[in-house]
């Protein structure tokens, strides 16, 4: 959760309140709040933490970080199914039904 992941702004919804954009994290795309970097442009890179862009980042640094995160499996940790991960840790018995995984809320 503490991980802040760099991503590329691929779309901005100017009508959303708070300001919202679509961010590409090396293939995984998620919505993020852009209110704290409100003058960001499509094509720029930002650091995103729990669905909020917190700062801009240059493309070279962003791509290097993303490559490393992917190699280390951190993107799976950040964006993967937390119930599955918890079930694995607990010894393989999922306490959760998949439909309640909260995925619809992501």
């Amino acid at each position: 959760m503490c991980l802040a992941v760099p991503g590329k702004v691929v779309a901005i919804d100017d009508s959303a309140e708070p300001l919202t954009g679509l961010i590409d994290f090396g293939g995984v795309q998620k919505k993020a709040c852009l209110e704290y970097v409100s003058d960001v442009k499509v094509g720029e890179y930002v650091i995103v933490h729990v669905g909020f862009a917190l700062q801009r980042l240059d493309e070279e640094s962003a791509l290097a970080s993303l490559k490393l995160f992917e190699e280390l499996g951190l993107l799976e940790e950040e964006f993967g199914d937390a119930w599955e991960q918890a079930a694995r840790e607990a010894g393989g018995t999922a306490a959760a039904e998949p439909e309640n995984s909260g995925s619809e809320a992501r």
Partner: protein, 380 residues
């Protein structure tokens, strides 16, 4: 050098290590505050690559780990109530309360949902007007702007079925608590980069001056950490104690003013208890009076909680940098990610989890020696 080929730029890593080795003439102890940095350090064997004179002490920078048991138990009680949708980041699912965790509450029928962002919890509240939606608002300064925005939006939208169970903590008072502890050995800090992305660096010069410690703002990729260490050791050898920014690509002097403004609108500074450490004055945030209606502790009566920490868990000493996880008798025996005694064993940023995942073979069979992290089968 073992581990180093895993770095994204092994040549630069070697150069930084050579510089650290050439600079350090005396023993120095540095604390990395951020749990993400701790994992990066253990995962890449950075502590083992460093010259003997430079010791890394792991700090309390895992928000999941320092969330007090009392708050975890309150979360469990609220989550078990009918009519409640309890939303949390995935990291909290297996953090042990006094007698269970959120994962188990879900198994027993509680409606616990994992969300990626607090705004997802807000959306659930909007779509489920007949249910109470509670978001577990933990985290350091990096997470606070998100939680502040969620509650700000709840008010704007007039959502009366949304609330936060707040357990926010702040880094600078924790640094002060660590430095004033009689047993403190820390001589320099690697300050948490993403905390500073939000808050900037204004709070640090006073701490650096008062405790005469270098504070180097550091990212959490392996090369960032080596660069942070290099700068901190250089300052220590020169007798300096300044604030330096070794993570300028993500940290500006002023931080993110818009995010800070939102935090200050919604939260006010308060004393907070840290799991395993105790109460630290002014070390947290709570909702201001204007937003008190969105405080889950006010909305739900959870005042009768009685907590009980397992006596053998030494997570508090780990979080204060007083012992390494492997010095705890329960580590890897009675305490594992499957049967955790404390949060440090299950959080993705916990020091005990890092040692268990990446050092298990070494820790349990030191005579085998030199087992590279990639040869260890992660258990989680």
């Amino acid at each position: 050098m073992k581990y180093i080929d895993e770095f994204n730029d092994p040549q630069l890593a070697r150069r930084l290590l050579d510089e650290i080795r050439a600079t350090a003439t005396r023993p120095w102890a540095l604390m990395e505050v951020c749990g993400g940095q701790t994992h990066s350090i253990i995962r890449h064997g950075i502590d083992q690559l460093l010259p003997e004179q430079v010791e890394l002490i792991h700090g309390p920078g895992c928000p999941v780990c320092v969330t007090p048991l009392e708050v975890i138990d309150k979360a469990l009680e609220i989550a078990a109530r009918p009519g409640v949708i309890f939303c949390s980041f995935g990291d909290m699912l297996r953090v042990p309360g006094t007698d269970r965790d959120l994962f188990r509450v879900k198994g027993e029928g509680g409606d616990v949902r994992v969300v990626y962002s607090p705004l997802d919890a807000l959306e659930l509240a909007r779509r489920n007007p007949d249910r109470e939606v509670v978001f577990f608002a933990i985290g350091f300064e990096t997470t606070a702007p998100a939680n502040a925005m969620a509650v700000h939006q709840a008010r704007r939208l007039g959502l009366s079925n949304f609330s936060l169970l707040v357990s926010h903590v702040r880094v600078p008072p924790a640094v002060e608590a660590i430095m004033t502890a009689p047993e403190c050995r820390v001589q320099g800090f690697l300050a948490a980069g993403h905390v500073c992305s939000v808050m900037g660096m204004a709070e640090y010069p006073e701490l650096a001056e008062r405790f005469r410690v270098p504070m180097v703002v550091t990212g959490f990729e392996p090369l960032d950490i080596l660069e942070g260490i290099r700068r901190a050791v250089r300052q220590l050898e020169r007798g300096e104690h300044r604030v330096e920014n070794a993570y300028p690509r993500a940290v500006r002097e002023e931080g993110n003013p818009a995010a800070v403004r939102m935090i200050e609108e919604v939260f006010e500074v308060t004393d907070r208890s840290w799991r395993g450490i105790g109460r630290i004055p002014a070390s947290g945030w709570r909702l201001t009076d204007a937003f008190r209606a969105y405080d889950a502790e006010h909305r739900f009566d959870v005042s009768g909680i009685r907590t009980e920490e397992p006596a053998e868990c030494r997570a508090g000493e780990v979080l204060q940098g007083l012992i390494k996880p492997t010095e705890c008798a329960a580590f890897g025996t009675t305490c594992t990610p499957r049967t955790p005694l404390g949060a440090t064993m299950v959080s993705s940023e916990g020091a005990c989890a890092a040692y268990y995942l990446y050092r298990r073979m070494n820790a349990l069979a030191p005579q085998a020696g030199g087992t590279a992290p990639q040869e260890v089968t992660p258990v989680a």
